[in-house]
């Protein structure tokens, strides 16, 4: 009775869902689910189909074909939607993942007369030395069977994206039984030690489908894995890859920025921006929404090491800080280290932002195009030699330059320039599974002038070559060398008698050798860095024949910085692990020579009370020989750099931190507290001349800094509703070291740093209505930043001048902003040539007039009037159209 009822219901539903028009020649099935289509094949075409529906498959199918070709058309359609269709023993197998032909060898495989290339999947398996895994229901044999052997063996390999072949970074690779846990590195490489015998190795990556592979480990061996993107993440994973890493890894304060998150977070003018997303992380602040640079846990902007493909980016912004220098299309992943900074990084005392570019699709040419209100960007990548050599080419430009020329002359903006360009290029060649070489380059240029007589220009340029090698199972070596430069210039021609051109710049050449070795429960990181700085503090040249401007070139500054480092990640037990190491950093200032030595310490440890509840603590000390010379609140494109010298000591600092991490279902909770101190941070005497000052060090004063705070974060990385909410309480204070009498800043007492904003609340949320449509929201609240304001006025020759309060004694009004965006993703038709995505949103929905800065002037009768400048004072709607192919 029940079966009759089931059949009846099935028929009713089939009739309801399916519009069937079986004419004499042609069959048409409209808008049915995959299982209904398969049922139709079974019942009406007599096909023997073994079908496992993808739990997340909600696509609808329409097939129209002549009766004799209907089976093929339907199977093609299923294949087009991502299913693997194989024929074996007269039956069709429609499964997720790869062809079933990879499981068993077809008949005649060893017969040389049989064309073995008839099955691509099989050919691929044969051709590759390592197994490429996409299929789950299989036992993979690793290593050579050696009877009687016991103990453990390393399993290593790369984890890549199934469609593009791009390495997947930060994928958690673990074995629940032994507690072995690693994450893939920037090349998607992993190496995990497993006991010989049967193991289940799990792979869990952000927004990727989790995998659990059955391994039979006989010895050391390779296992390359390809993972596919979780097409629908609405139901989410139980524990995210990030959450899992937080409990397995002893490192603290490591934030990973996912590129798909970057593309959904609303930003001004809708330009997807890596740095703007970094600003949504707890502990990261900025002095203003259009400001260049960011402050991490109370550190200054010049205390962040910003790396792009290993090269240092000195000014990571375009257009006064409206946009960052990074083209999101070419970025693969971003990591911010704000507490536990790995030993291989050095040279800055606050944080490291490591932005890594794509390697390029090794399967086919792909790319993207984007049109925004301000900029357009493109990216193209693909194989030069399939599976061997790939390239990435990307670029951006802006239209504001020619748009300004269209403005009426009366607008004061006509004829102005506000433009930028940037270009990224990289080529990666894989010699074999163990060795690869990457050559990359980056160039960005900004030029702006609102008055026709003054032009600012600055450029970043980076070039790098990197060789990566995995050898003798347990070692990985990365050797890289590169050249980074930043230069800026100003041409002032408003007066023909004083017309001049000012320029300054910094260049650095570096070489690095980083090694990683695994010995039992120890993972050693060790290596050496060497860096040479060549800094031109400033030069002035006359630019007209009539100009009296004197040609002047300040003496170059040079320094050499070298470091030897060694660190160990020691997993004492499954619950307890320690990260410790030291970086012996030497800085040699030249002309006159002075050597500074800093043995930097890195120490962190974790103890997991359970699989989802962990305590961590850490301490690290850092040093840096480079100082940014800037007396403005925001980093200016005209800021210069200065090297530590015989008279100016390198900045040093240390940070102690501890935290609790708790994962409950899909939600990660964390609370981290920190205290840090900074030494030899520079400030300036009042009225200091910072540009073209041959005796600059005489106007610098040394300060000591302290910062402390607590960061609470609740993160839900997957599911229909995903995102994070964080609250930070933090302080950042400075104090002049020297007593200069009445001129000592703030009388020698502690004063607030310009970025001291005690309360900071951030919310980044994304709600997926369907697989294609989602709504993103971003909320940002913080205490207003400190400012120095006038407290009195006085007259000289009938004009009023101002007397000021103590340094940063007041605050501008609190900051609040809410942004919203609707994202419409392309359809998930895998064979579609091009995919359009559309984003429209509103930045600063409430139109709150957030103060960027305050200033004071006088009216006609001398009364002082206070004003605040709001950079984005109104809601800013935007539309962004992106094409991916």
């Amino acid at each position: 009775m029940a079966s009759r009822r089931t059949i009846g219901l099935w028929l009713v539903s089939l009739l309801t869902l399916v519009t069937l028009s079986a004419q004499a020649q042609e069959i048409e099935v409209k808008r049915v689910a995959s299982d209904s289509l398969v049922s139709y094949l079974r019942h009406h075409c007599g096909s023997q189909v073994y079908f496992v529906k993808d739990a997340e498959d909600v696509a609808s199918y329409t097939v129209k074909a002549p009766k004799e070709g209907f089976e093929k058309a339907a199977l093609d359609e299923l294949q087009a939607k991502g299913y693997a269709v194989s024929r074996f023993d007269g039956k069709w197998f429609v499964l997720q993942g790869k062809s079933i032909a990879a499981v068993e060898l077809p008949a005649g495989f060893f017969d040389p007369r049989v064309d073995r290339h008839a099955d691509d999947g099989l050919a691929k398996l044969r051709d590759e030395e390592n197994q490429v895994v996409t299929f789950r229901n299989k036992i993979y044999e690793i290593g050579d069977l050696t009877p009687g052997r016991t103990g453990k063996a390393f399993v290593r390999g790369h984890v890549r994206d199934i469609t593009s072949g791009e390495p997947l970074v930060g994928v958690a690779v673990y074995d629940d039984k032994t507690g072995a846990f690693v994450t893939t590195d920037s090349d998607g490489f992993y190496r995990v030690e497993l006991p010989l015998g049967e193991n289940v190795l799990h792979f869990s990556g952000y927004s990727m489908e989790d995998m659990a592979l059955n391994l039979q480990v006989y010895g050391e061996g390779g296992l390359d894995v390809v993972m596919k993107e979780k097409v629908t993440s609405l139901k989410g994973a139980v524990v995210s890859a990030d959450g899992r890493s937080a409990h397995r890894d002893a490192k603290m304060g490591v934030e990973t920025v996912r590129m798909n998150v970057v593309k959904t977070i609303p930003t001004a003018f809708g330009e997807a921006d890596v740095l703007k997303v970094v600003l949504t992380l707890p502990g990261v602040k900025t002095v203003g929404e259009a400001a260049t640079g960011f402050n991490v846990r109370g550190g200054a902007t010049d205390q962040n090491l910003i790396l792009f493909n290993d090269g240092t980016v000195f000014n990571p912004s375009h257009m006064f800080g409206l946009l960052s220098s990074f083209n999101t299309d070419v970025v693969n992943d971003v990591e911010l280290f704000k507490s536990s900074i790995p030993v291989e990084y050095g040279g800055r005392i606050s944080s490291v932002l490591d932005v890594r570019g794509k390697e390029g699709n090794n399967k086919k040419i792909s790319g993207s195009l984007g049109l925004g209100l301000l900029t357009s960007h493109f990216e193209m990548d693909g194989p030069i030699v399939k599976d061997k050599t790939t390239f990435v080419l990307g670029g951006r430009t802006t239209y504001s330059n020619w748009m300004l020329n269209l403005l009426p002359a009366s607008s004061n903006y006509s004829g102005g320039i506000a433009g930028f360009n940037d270009v990224n290029v990289s080529v990666t060649h894989k010699f074999n599974d163990e060795n690869s070489l990457q050559v990359s380059g980056y160039y960005s240029s900004d030029k702006f002038a609102f008055a026709n007589d003054t032009t600012f220009h600055y450029t970043n340029a980076n070039a790098a070559i990197k060789w990566k090698s995995h050898f003798r199972d347990r070692h990985t070596m990365t050797v890289s060398a590169g050249y980074d430069s930043f230069s800026n210039s100003l041409d002032d021609t408003h007066d023909q008698y004083t017309a001049y051109s000012f320029s300054s710049g910094i260049k650095q050449m570096y070489g690095k050798a980083d090694l990683k070795s695994v010995y039992g429960r120890h993972t050693l990181s060790y290596g050496a860095n060497a860096q040479f700085y060549d800094l031109a503090p400033g030069a002035i040249n006359p630019v007209t024949d009539e100009s009296f401007a004197a040609e002047e070139v300040l003496d170059k500054q040079n320094a050499f910085e070298g470091a030897l480092y060694m660190g160990d990640t020691w997993n004492l037990t499954d619950r307890l692990s320690i990260d410790f190491g030291t970086r012996l950093s030497g800085y040699l200032a030249m002309n006159p020579g002075k050597f500074y030595f800093h043995p930097d310490v890195r120490l962190s440890g974790k103890y997991s009370f359970s699989d989802n509840f962990t305590f961590k603590a850490g301490f690290n000390s850092m040093s840096q020989g480079l100082h940014m010379i800037s007396n403005s609140t925001s980093v200016s494109p005209m800021d210069t750099w200065h090297l530590s010298s015989a008279n100016l000591r390198p900045q040093t600092g240390w940070q102690g931190a501890s935290g609790l991490y708790w994962t409950l279902g899909q939600v990660d909770f964390s609370v981290e507290g920190y205290y840090k101190e900074m030494y030899h941070y520079i400030d300036y005497i009042s009225g200091a001349k910072l540009v073209m000052n041959p005796d600059l060090e005489s106007v610098l004063v040394e300060t000591r800094g302290k910062a402390y705070g607590a960061e609470l974060m609740i993160k839900k990385p997957s599911g229909k509703l995903n995102g994070w909410v964080s609250y930070t309480y933090s302080r950042s204070m400075l104090k002049e070291v020297e007593d200069r009498g009445v001129e000592t800043i703030n009388g020698g007492d502690w004063y607030c740093a310009a970025h001291d904003k005690p309360h900071d609340f951030k919310l980044v949320g994304n709600y997926k209505f369907t697989h294609r449509v989602s709504l993103s929201m971003n909320v940002d609240y913080s205490t207003g930043r400190p400012v120095t304001i006038p407290v009195g006025r006085y007259q000289i020759n009938g004009k009023y001048y101002l007397a000021f309060s103590g340094r940063n004694a007041y605050r501008i009004p609190d900051y609040f902003r809410m942004d919203m965006a609707m994202n419409i993703e392309p359809g998930h038709y895998l064979k579609q040539l091009a995919h359009f995505s559309l984003t429209f949103g509103v930045y600063n929905v409430t139109g709150r007039k957030n103060a960027y800065s305050v200033f004071f002037n006088h009216d006609a009768i001398g009364r002082v009037k206070g004003h605040m400048l709001s950079v984005f004072a109104v809601p800013i709607p935007y539309v962004n159209l992106n094409l991916k192919f």
């Binding site: 609140t633 200016s636 001048y801 950079v871």
Partner: protein
């Protein structure tokens, strides 16, 4: 299409705005302010005042920032000379005459205020500067008169302060040939029921006014090959500015100053003018060269330089220049019968013309018929080139 683009451009530029801002609590600070330069070979003024509150209500009484407690002031020379200040000027202002002072000596300022003694540091005026020319340029396109100066220095000085003085002759809108005497002030109140309009013998029609450059202008030749300055703009006047209506006089004074004086003045000027830009320097207080002998930690605002002055002057007469244009603003004038004279008088108007036959007078507001209302005086400066009085 172009309109759409312009709209987009305008929208982008319109997203940033400036809004009023006030601080609820800006506690008042009590500081002494000292300004003026010791000019060797000339007479000069030193002003000692105190800091004014930042915010002054519109209806609040004028704040008296002058310092009545300034009890003594003198300039001390390294050659043993002393030049006492003259307190006959306004409170807080002191004149010092050093016309006979030696150029070889160093000098410093002393003053006593609130029973505390203050001194500046020793300074020497060792460089002379020459004003090469003071001239004007007429910009017919923008209807501007621009006064400019060229100067150079032979010595090692690279820092200069430039000030100027303007004197101009101007007239009231209407030449008042008559004056009104209210009924009660006439000899025969019964006869002049509505008051009396009678001829005026000395109308306040032509005046001379004086102004000084506001604040200060400092220049440096630090980045120049020579201390030569050309086309330094001093003042820019609109073509309709009444300063140009008759005769305009300008005297420019250029004084070399020390590097620290330049940096001080440049700093406070920058703090007053450049704050608020995205890339403005952070505001800060800079110490001048005045210190309190009795309390070295007291912060005194101000810088007193020791310098020489080089001057040059010019007259610009409109009858020769023919550049001035009247503003075209309507000056009110009513023809009024005697019945209305008292009411016009009571609202501040005065008669400037009169028809005795009709007993009708032309009335205009006081400031249109009396040049003194614009701040000038009737005293003709000595050596003034035009003849009118």
């Amino acid at each position: 299409m172009k309109k759409i683009i312009l709209f987009v451009c305008a929208a982008l530029l319109a997203v940033s705005c400036v809004y009023p801002f006030s601080v609820d609590d800006s506690s008042s600070v009590d500081r002494l302010v000292v300004f003026g330069d010791i000019i060797v070979g000339d007479e000069f003024e030193i002003r000692v005042s105190k800091l004014e509150p930042l915010y002054v209500e519109e209806d609040a009484p004028e704040f008296d920032y002058s310092l009545a407690h300034l009890t003594d002031l003198w300039v001390e020379g390294s050659d043993g000379s002393t030049y006492k200040g003259d307190f006959s000027a306004a409170a807080g202002t002191c004149k010092v005459n050093m016309k006979s002072a030696s150029t070889e000596a160093d000098y410093r300022l002393h003053f006593v205020c609130n029973r505390k003694e203050y001194i500046s540091d020793w300074r020497h005026a060792d460089t002379r500067v020459a004003v090469d020319s003071l001239y004007y340029q007429l910009d017919f396109e923008k209807n501007k008169f621009r006064a400019k100066v060229d100067f150079h220095a032979d010595g090692s000085s690279k820092y200069f302060s430039v000030t100027y003085k303007e004197v101009w002759e101007y007239t009231a809108a209407y030449k008042a040939k008559y004056e009104y005497i209210p009924r009660d002030m006439t000899q025969y109140p019964g006869r002049y029921k509505y008051g009396l309009v009678q001829p005026l013998t000395n109308p306040n029609y032509r005046c001379w006014n004086t102004a000084y450059s506001r604040g200060f202008q400092v220049l440096t030749s630090e980045s120049l090959t020579q201390s030569v300055f050309k086309d330094v703009e001093l003042a820019s006047l609109n073509r309709t500015d009444s300063k140009l209506s008759n005769c305009y006089f300008m005297e420019v004074s250029v004084m070399p100053v020390a590097q620290d004086a330049y940096e001080y003045m440049n700093h406070i000027d920058e703090m007053a003018n450049s704050l608020g830009d995205l890339f403005s320097p952070n505001p800060s207080e800079m110490r001048g060269n005045i210190r309190c002998v009795d309390d070295p930690d007291e912060f005194v605002i101000g810088f007193v330089s020791v310098t020489h002055k080089s001057t040059k002057s010019m007259y610009v007469i409109d009858s020769v220049l023919k550049f001035y244009k009247t503003s075209g603003i309507f000056m009110p004038a009513d023809e009024v019968g005697e019945y209305h004279w008292p009411s016009y008088y009571n609202k501040g108007w005065v008669p400037f013309d009169y028809d005795p036959d009709k007993k009708m007078a032309w009335w205009t507001p006081f400031d249109c018929a009396d040049c003194r209302a614009a701040g000038g005086t009737r005293t003709k400066p000595e050596g003034w080139p035009t003849k009118g009085i």
